[in-house]
C-alpha cells in the first residue's frame, strides 16, 4: 500500500494527535508554547486527514489493514472506504478550522487557568473521532467510541468549578453510556448471528454483513443501533444532554462537538443501520423519518425559546440532526422499494447537509465563542449593538445565520432543497400510508426551515443590532487574528458549498453508490456545472451561480443608487416619537421576539409565566417583575419517572447500609454460608 493513499495518511493523522496528547503532559510548564505547538500540529494533522478523506471519496476505493495491536487472536481491523472518507474529510475540515481558531481562543483563557487538560483531551477527542471512522470491527469501534465519549466528557467538565457544568457533564456521560450499551447489544446480536454465540469471530464488520438474523432480530438490532447512535446525535427524545453540554464546554469544543461529533453518530447510523444490517423493510425507514421530523420541529422550537446564545445553537443542532435523519429515513424508504436513484438523492441530501451543517455550525459556534470571549456574556438579553465593536464577528456570524436559515447562495440552502426534492418525488412510492405521510413531512420540514430563519433573525438582531442592553463589565474587543481567519475560512467554505453544488455532488457520488447502489451525479450535473438538476431538468433545477450574479447585481444597483451620492447618508439617533427618554431596555429582546410563537406552540413546553406588580412606596411608580420559565415537557415524560424510580430504589437499597462494619461482615458471612449450602 503506497504511503500517500487514504488509509496510511488517515492513520498518521491520528498518530499525530495521540502523540501530541502525550507530549502535552511534558510541556505543562510552558503553556503558550504548548498551545502554539498543539494547535499547529493539530492543523497539520487535520490537513492530512482532509486530503486522505478527499482522496478516499474521490477514488471511491477501499483500503483495509489488520493492525498488530488488540487482544490475542482478536486483532484490530481498520478500513477506509468512500463513506468513512466522506466523514473523515468532514471531521478534518472542521477540525482544521477549529484548530486555527483555537490558537487565539485558548490563549485567551490561559490567564484564568492552565490549558494542559484542554489540549490533552482535545487531541484525544479528535483521535477518538477519527478512529471511529476507520475502525472495521466492533471491538475497535467501541474502544474508539468510548475514547471519544470519555475525552469529550472531560472537555465538557473543563470549567469544573461550576456545579451546572458538572451536572451537564454527568448528564452527558450518562446518556452516552446508555447509547453505548445499546450499540454494544446491537453488535452482539449481529456478531452472534454471524458466527455463533459461543465465539468472538463475528466481531468483524465484514462477518456481520453476512449475518442473517431473521426479521425479528434484525429489527431489534437495527433499532438498538439507531437509538444508540441517536442518543449521541441528539435525536429527540434523547437530546436532553445536548443543550446542557454544548454551552458548558469551551466554545472551540462546542464547535467540534456540534459540528463533528454529532456527525460521527450519523456516520454510525449509516454504517451500522444501512451498511452492515441493510434496510430490509420500509417501516424501519418510516420510523426513522418520523423521528427525524419530530426532532427537527421540536429542536427549532426549543431553540426559539432560549436566551443563551450557545443554547440556541445547541438546540438548532438538534434541529439539523433531525433534518439529516429525515434524509436518511427517506433514503432507507426508497432503498426498501428498490428505488436506487431516489435513495441516492435522499442520501446525498443528508450527506450534503452533514457537510454544510458542520461548516456553518462551527462558524456560528466560533462566532458565539468570540462574542463570549470579548464580552464575557452568553445571555442575549444582556447583549446588543455588538456590530460596532465586533464588525468581523458580526459579518461572519451573519453569513452563518444566512446559511443556517437556508437562504440561497449558502450551503444550507442546497442541502435542504435537495431534501425537499426527495420528499416531492413521493408519488412514485407504492405505499398508501407513505403517500400521505410524505406531504405532511414536507410541510413540517418547510415549517422547520421558516422557524429556523426566524430564530436566526432573532439571534443576529438581538445580539449584534440595536443597543447594548446591559452595562458592559469588560472592555469589548474584536476577536484575535487566528479566530477571524478560522471564521473566514468557514464562511468561504459555506459560500462555496452554496455556489458550486454540482462539484460537491459529483465528489460525494461514490458514497451513495457504495451504500445504496445508486448515483445521481450524472443526472444532477447533466446541464453543466452551472445547473443542479437532481433527477431531471423538467422537475426541478437550481443554478447557484446565476442566483449569485442576480443578487450581486441587485445589491450593486441598490448600493449605487443610495450610496452613490455622499450627501444622501445622514447619521443620527433613532426617532423616538418625541418621547425623549429612550433606553436600551425598550428594544425588542429575545423573549419578546419569540413571544408570538410561544403563544402558538406553548402546549409543547411547560411554560410558567408571571407578572408581579408591587408598590414600593405609595404614590411612586409601581415596580413590575416579569418572570418566565420554559421547561422541556419531554423531560417529565422520558426522564423524570426514571430518575425518580432510580432515587426510590437507591433509598430502599440504602436501608441495607447501616454503617456498622459488623453488619456488613454478617452479610458476607450469610452469603458465604448460603452459597456453600445451595451451590
Amino acid at each position: 500500500m503506497p504511503f500517500f493513499s487514504p488509509l496510511p495518511l488517515a492513520f498518521s493523522s491520528i498518530v499525530i494527535f495521540l502523540m501530541m496528547a502525550g507530549l502535552a503532559l511534558l510541556l505543562q510548564n510552558r503553556q503558550t508554547f504548548l498551545v502554539n505547538m498543539a494547535f499547529f500540529l493539530s492543523t497539520v494533522s487535520c490537513g492530512i486527514g482532509l486530503y486522505a478523506g478527499f482522496e478516499a471519496v474521490a477514488s471511491g476505493s477501499m483500503q483495509t489493514m489488520i493492525m498488530p495491536i488488540g487482544l490475542p487472536d482478536l486483532p484490530f481491523y481498520i478500513r477506509v472506504d468512500a463513506l468513512s472518507g466522506f466523514f473523515l474529510s468532514l471531521a478534518s475540515l472542521t477540525g482544521l478550522m477549529v484548530s486555527i481558531y483555537s490558537f487565539d481562543y485558548v490563549k485567551g483563557i490561559l490567564s484564568a487557568r492552565k490549558a494542559t487538560k484542554l489540549v490533552v483531551f482535545y487531541c484525544l477527542f479528535m483521535a477518538g473521532m477519527l478512529l471511529v471512522l476507520i475502525s472495521d470491527d466492533a471491538y475497535f469501534f467501541m474502544s474508539s467510541w468510548e475514547l471519544m465519549a470519555l475525552s469529550s466528557f472531560f472537555l465538557v467538565s473543563f470549567e469544573d468549578e461550576s456545579a451546572e457544568n458538572r451536572r451537564a457533564a454527568f448528564l452527558y456521560i450518562l446518556i452516552a453510556h446508555i447509547g453505548a450499551v445499546m450499540i454494544l447489544l446491537s453488535f452482539g446480536i449481529l456478531a452472534g448471528f454471524a458466527a455463533g454465540f459461543e465465539n468472538f469471530m463475528g466481531y468483524r464488520f465484514s462477518a456481520m454483513r453476512s449475518a442473517e438474523p431473521g426479521m425479528l432480530w434484525a429489527s431489534i438490532a437495527f433499532f438498538l443501533a439507531f437509538f444508540g447512535f441517536a442518543s449521541k446525535a441528539g435525536v429527540v427524545p434523547l437530546h436532553v444532554w445536548l443543550p446542557e453540554a454544548h454551552p458548558a464546554a469551551p466554545s472551540n469544543i462546542s464547535a467540534l462537538m456540534s459540528a463533528v461529533m454529532l456527525k460521527i453518530a450519523i456516520y454510525g447510523i449509516l454504517r451500522v443501520c444501512m451498511d452492515i444490517i441493510g434496510v430490509q423493510v420500509w417501516w424501519w425507514g418510516g420510523v426513522v423519518l418520523v423521528i427525524g421530523l419530530i426532532t427537527a420541529v421540536m429542536g427549532i422550537l426549543y431553540a426559539l425559546m432560549q436566551v443563551d446564545i450557545k443554547r440556541v445553537l445547541a438546540y438548532s443542532s438538534v434541529e439539523h440532526v433531525g433534518i439529516i435523519t429525515v434524509g436518511i429515513g427517506l433514503s432507507m424508504i426508497f432503498t426498501s422499494f428498490e428505488l436506487r436513484m431516489l435513495a441516492a438523492l435522499a442520501l446525498t441530501a443528508a450527506l450534503y447537509h452533514c457537510l454544510s451543517h458542520s461548516v456553518f455550525k462551527s462558524l456560528l459556534f466560533m462566532a458565539a465563542g468570540s462574542v463570549l470571549h470579548s464580552t464575557g456574556e452568553r445571555n442575549m438579553e444582556r447583549l446588543g449593538g455588538l456590530i460596532h465593536k465586533l464588525p468581523w464577528t458580526s459579518a461572519l456570524f451573519l453569513v452563518g445565520a444566512l446559511s443556517i436559515a437556508a437562504m440561497p447562495l449558502f450551503g444550507g440552502f442546497v442541502s435542504e432543497w435537495l431534501t425537499f426534492q426527495a420528499f416531492l418525488l413521493s408519488p412514485v412510492l407504492p405505499n398508501a400510508l407513505l403517500k400521505i405521510l410524505f406531504p405532511l413531512g414536507a410541510a413540517l420540514l418547510a415549517l422547520t426551515a421558516a422557524l429556523s430563519a426566524r430564530c436566526f433573525v432573532k439571534v443576529f438582531a438581538v445580539t449584534f443590532l440595536g443597543q447594548r442592553r446591559a452595562v458592559p463589565t469588560t472592555e469589548t474587543h474584536e476577536a484575535g487574528m487566528s479566530m477571524r481567519l478560522a471564521m473566514s475560512i468557514a464562511a468561504i467554505s459555506s459560500l462555496a458549498l452554496g455556489l458550486f453544488p454540482s462539484f460537491v455532488i459529483d465528489w460525494i457520488d461514490t458514497v451513495p453508490q457504495s451504500l445504496v447502489k445508486g448515483r445521481i451525479a450524472s443526472s444532477a450535473g447533466a446541464f453543466g456545472w452551472m445547473w443542479l438538476t437532481p433527477i431531471s431538468a423538467e422537475r426541478a433545477s437550481y443554478s447557484a451561480p446565476i442566483v449569485f450574479i442576480g443578487i450581486f447585481a441587485a445589491v450593486a444597483v441598490a448600493w449605487l443608487a443610495f450610496h452613490g451620492k455622499k450627501a444622501a447618508t445622514r447619521r443620527s439617533a433613532t426617532w423616538d416619537c418625541g418621547f425623549e427618554k429612550m433606553t436600551p431596555r425598550m428594544q425588542y429582546n429575545s423573549t419578546s421576539f419569540a413571544m408570538p410563537l410561544r403563544r402558538i406552540f406553548g402546549f409543547l413546553f411547560v411554560v410558567s409565566e408571571s407578572v408581579r406588580t408591587s408598590h414600593a412606596q405609595p404614590g411612586s411608580a409601581p415596580r413590575i417583575r416579569y418572570s418566565l420559565r420554559i421547561e422541556d415537557r419531554l423531560w417529565y415524560v422520558f426522564y423524570k419517572p426514571f430518575s425518580d424510580a432510580a432515587y426510590y430504589l437507591a433509598k430502599q437499597a440504602n436501608r441495607l447500609q447501616h454503617g456498622r462494619m459488623q453488619i456488613y461482615l454478617l452479610y458476607s458471612f450469610i452469603t458465604l454460608i448460603t452459597l456453600l449450602v445451595f451451590a
Partner: protein, 221 residues
C-alpha cells in the same frame, strides 16, 4: 517417618489449629489473643512442613518457613508494637456473649464437616480429613470479626481467616503455587502496616477504636 504417622501428626495439628481458633473466640485479653494467634501460626507452619515432607513437595518448605517468619514472628510483633503504642489495655469487647459465640462456633464446625463430607470421599490426598478444619477456621475467623467491637480484634480475626485459607489450600491441593503464596504473604504483611496506619487515623478522628464510631461516616441525606 511413615506415611500413617504423618497423617496422624497432621490430624493432631489440625485439631490444635481448631483449638486455637476457639481460643481466639474466647480469649478476653488482647495480648492473650496475640499469643494464641502466634501458636496457630506455629501449628500451621509445622503442618505445612510435614505435608511437604510426606508428599515430597519442596516448595511447601518455603511456604512453611514463610509462615513461621511472617505469622509467628513478624505479624504478632507488629501488632504488639501497635497495641503498645496505642495503649490498649482491655480491647476485647464483644457484641454477643462468649458462650453464645462458642455455640455458634460449634455449629459452624459441624456445618463444615457436613459440607466437606463429599470431598473427603472423593479426594485421595493425605490431608483430606483436615479440609473441614480449614473451612471451620475460615468461618470462625469471620465469626470473630462479626462479633467483636474493637478494630484490633477485627484484624486478628482477619488474619486468622487468612490462616484458614492457607490451611485449606494445603489440605485441599497441597498448597497454592509458590508465586501465589508469596504474593499472599506479602499482601498480608502490607495489610498489617495499612491497618496500623488506619488505627492511628481512626483514633485521631474519633478518639476511640470502637467501630461504633464509624457509623457516623454513613452518608445521611
Amino acid at each position: 517417618m511413615s506415611h500413617e504417622l504423618a497423617i496422624e501428626i497432621n490430624s493432631l495439628l489440625a485439631a490444635l489449629i481448631l483449638l486455637t481458633s476457639f481460643g481466639l473466640l474466647v480469649q478476653r485479653r488482647v495480648y492473650g489473643l496475640l499469643h494464641i494467634f502466634a501458636w496457630q501460626g506455629v501449628f500451621l507452619s509445622v503442618s505445612t512442613a510435614i505435608v511437604g515432607y510426606s508428599a515430597g513437595l519442596n516448595h511447601l518448605y518455603i511456604s512453611a518457613a514463610m509462615t513461621l517468619v511472617i505469622k509467628v514472628f513478624a505479624l504478632p510483633y507488629i501488632l504488639y508494637v501497635l497495641i503498645h503504642k496505642l495503649r490498649i489495655k482491655k480491647e476485647v469487647e464483644d457484641m454477643v456473649n462468649i458462650p453464645t459465640t462458642m455455640l455458634i462456633g460449634i455449629a459452624v464446625v459441624i456445618f463444615s464437616y457436613h459440607l466437606t463430607a463429599p470431598i473427603r470421599e472423593l479426594s485421595t490426598l493425605m490431608t483430606r480429613s483436615t479440609l473441614a478444619v480449614a473451612l471451620s477456621t475460615v468461618l470462625l475467623g469471620l465469626l470473630m470479626m462479626i462479633t467483636r467491637k474493637k478494630a484490633v480484634t477485627q484484624i486478628i480475626g482477619f488474619l486468622a481467616l487468612e490462616n484458614g485459607l492457607f490451611f485449606a489450600a494445603t489440605s485441599a491441593t497441597y498448597g497454592m503455587p509458590l508465586v501465589v503464596e508469596l504474593g499472599v504473604a506479602l499482601d498480608i504483611l502490607i495489610a498489617a502496616f495499612i491497618f496500623g496506619m488506619f488505627f492511628f487515623q481512626i483514633r485521631t478522628s474519633f478518639d476511640s477504636l470502637d467501630l461504633k464510631e464509624m457509623e457516623k461516616l454513613k452518608d445521611l441525606d
